[in-house]
Amino acid sequence: MSEHLLVVDDITLRFGGVTAIDGVGFHVDEGELFSIIGPNGAGKTSIFNTLSQVYRPQEGDILWKGESIMGMRPDKVAELGIARTFQNIELFANMTVVDNLLTGRHVRMNSSWLSGALWFGPAKKEEMENRRKVEDIIDFLEIEQYRKLPVALLPYGIQKRVELGRALAMDPVLLLLDEPVAGMNQEETEDMARFILDIRRELGIAMIMVEHDMGLVMDIADRILVLDFGQKIAQGLPDDIQQNPDVIAAYLGGELTG
């Protein structure tokens, strides 16, 4: 088949009577910044949950580099290189920033419980190497001063950054960002936008971004998918989406100029 990184092939996801995703299909290419927008309850988060196989769609298929990931365990999907942040922060609250990021590196580490329990030798070596990688990410996200704090104590904006860091720690090929700037002020939003652009430019990681901030989406997305009530109502370049009458109708005109 094609050389698309990810192909979502007409998936349908139902919860009892509710159809959260209704035959939606799209694809994402390597290094691309793809954006999914739509009103509340449109099914954006549900799409992410099917990609990480937390939810299993009843119909359709999801292909990663040409191979189906349907029925795979979520941790196996993560191993493939699909990392993610969450709409409502899902950090490991009692762990420090460093430990949260190191947990992100879990899939890239090998030490067994036995070598960990003994510490000296391979486990220690691996800890040091991965610690270095984590410190690079901490530098990149400018959160040095919070390194040793339990994340529960951090302000919201910083937690959002730590969550991005944890996803980056996985060395992902595709990064799913669920409303990365929701609830942030202007300055925090600009910082986050800068990080996202840097991630794409410097690391070449493909991204799917779900976001309500239309200004941000129109600025940085390569292509946009618009959902409403679980259905695809439009897909295309930012300029086309802004002009699309269906999209304008779904948003009641207002927000798109943002």
């Binding site: 937390v54 969450f86 009692n94 762990m95 947990t103 879990h106 419980w113 800890e127």
Partner: protein, 431 residues
């Protein structure tokens, strides 16, 4: 802060168990004290040739005496052994967040395995008289295997349901102990069986490599049986503490904490749910199995119904009071839960002996048993109904403590310690 925190030069130093020299020194001193605890100081009572005139060799009275007689050494040994079990439960419940009421069951599995492998056969019970280097690890491994067998069920349930499933294990265990093969291993119900000593043999030879069951002489020191066992348990307890600490600070331990804090997110971030929980069950049960075998070696008698629900609950109390999720908390909690009843008992005994004066008045206000007083503690060890006995008051005390800690200090004694420490670090500024 008036003192800048030291900047670490490398991650290697930062990830050490005891990063600063002060911490290393304090820990070293603490461990040295633990090793000296069962001895009278100076430990050498025979005058060294030519030095007999030194005052310390004078009349044979030790200068410093910590634990003194066998009773306190035995209680402290018990703390060391149960600390191993508490460390194990802390990994499963405190670190991985899987609350288990079945810890006593796994300890029982360890104890029975040890008795089967290392005990001596007679008309009533099986036993293979194998040496300790087989039966002790065997106890841990058998418990771990049973942990692996039950985990497919345990991994599927969460929270209160897991507590109930594991609670069932304790009753299954007691039932198994009463079945015919169980009796062959654990001895007749409520009679139990003799448990082997801790002698270290290569195989089944007559004279052990290291004699642990008689008083004797190690290097230049006279050591009693109790002191030998104490030292043995201390070495093991330190070893298991280090293992537990290492687990928590490496990949496996982080996976456990992640599952505890956010199980779905942990999976999405690549932490395998089943595998991690299975490892937690197996490793925690391994600790329990070892501790179970050691705890019966302490009394020299295995009684399978001692591994009951109350025993399990005691470990929950240890974690809650000490501070769940932290290794130090598990250790402090064990010390507190095992030692405090002893102190209360001693105090009552002291009161019972008090006559006249202030202590006599206090005794009268607290104890009953004398004439015309209104005390609320029965001076007898056993008591039915009001006034409660010392043992009953201990149960009440722990109940109250658990509730108080749950409400006011979820981090337990460890949390209090951290607060005190931070207060003094920042002194005289409160922030």
């Amino acid at each position: 802060m008036y003192r800048r925190p030291k900047l670490y030069t490398s991650y290697e130093q930062e990830t050490q168990l005891l990063p600063t020299w002060t911490q290393k020194g304090l820990a070293g001193a603490f461990i040295a004290v633990l090793f000296l605890l069962p001895f009278d100081i100076p430990v050498i009572t025979d005058p060294i040739p030519g030095l007999g005139w030194l005052p310390i060799f004078g009349d044979g009275i030790p200068v410093v005496r910590f634990l003194g007689d066998g009773e306190w050494i035995r209680v402290t040994s018990q703390v060391l052994v149960l600390a191993i079990a508490a460390l194990g439960l802390n990994l499963l419940s405190g670190v991985a967040g899987q609350v288990s009421l079945g810890h006593a069951f796994f300890m029982g599995v360890g104890a029975c395995t040890a008795a089967y492998l290392g005990g001596h056969a007679d008309s009533q019970v099986w036993g293979h008289s194998l040496p300790i280097w087989i039966w002790l690890p065997g106890a841990g491994i058998a418990a771990a295997l049973v942990g692996i067998i039950v985990s497919p069920v345990a991994v599927r349930v969460r929270g209160i349901y897991l507590a109930i499933v594991t609670l069932g294990l304790v009753f299954v265990g007691i039932h198994l102990g009463n079945m015919s093969f169980g009796r062959k291993i654990a001895g007749p119900p409520s009679l139990g069986r003799e448990f082997q000593d801790l002698d270290i043999r290569l195989w089944k030879e007559e004279t052990p490599l290291i004699n642990m069951s008689d008083d004797g002489r190690w290097l230049f020191f006279d050591v009693t049986e109790e002191q030998k066992r104490y030292l043995f348990f201390l070495v093991l307890a330190i070893g298991f503490t280090v293992l537990a600490k290492n687990l928590v600070r490496t990949r496996t331990g982080r996976a456990w904490q992640a599952i505890r804090d956010r199980d779905i997110a942990a999976e999405v971030m690549g932490v395998p749910d089943f595998k991690s929980k299975l490892e937690a069950f197996a490793i925690s049960s391994f600790f329990a199995g070892i501790a179970g075998a050691l705890v019966v070696s302490l009394s020299g008698h295995l009684l399978s119904d001692e591994f009951n629900l109350f025993f399990s609950v005691e470990f929950i109390a240890i974690l809650l009071i000490g501070g769940a999720g932290t290794t130090s908390g598990a250790l402090i909690g064990t010390f507190f839960v095992i030692m405090i009843p002893r102190f209360v008992e001693e105090f009552t005994r002291w009161l019972a002996d008090a006559e006249g004066g202030v202590s006599g008045a206090v005794a009268n206000a607290i104890l009953t048993g004398g004439e015309g007083d209104f005390g609320f503690v029965s001076s007898g060890i056993e008591s039915q109904g009001w006034p409660l006995s010392v043992a009953d008051w201990n149960v009440v005390l722990f109940g109250v403590l658990i509730i108080v800690f749950l409400i006011f200090e979820p981090l337990g004694l460890f949390g209090i310690w951290i607060k005190v420490r931070n207060y003094w670090k920042g002194w005289p500024f409160s922030y």
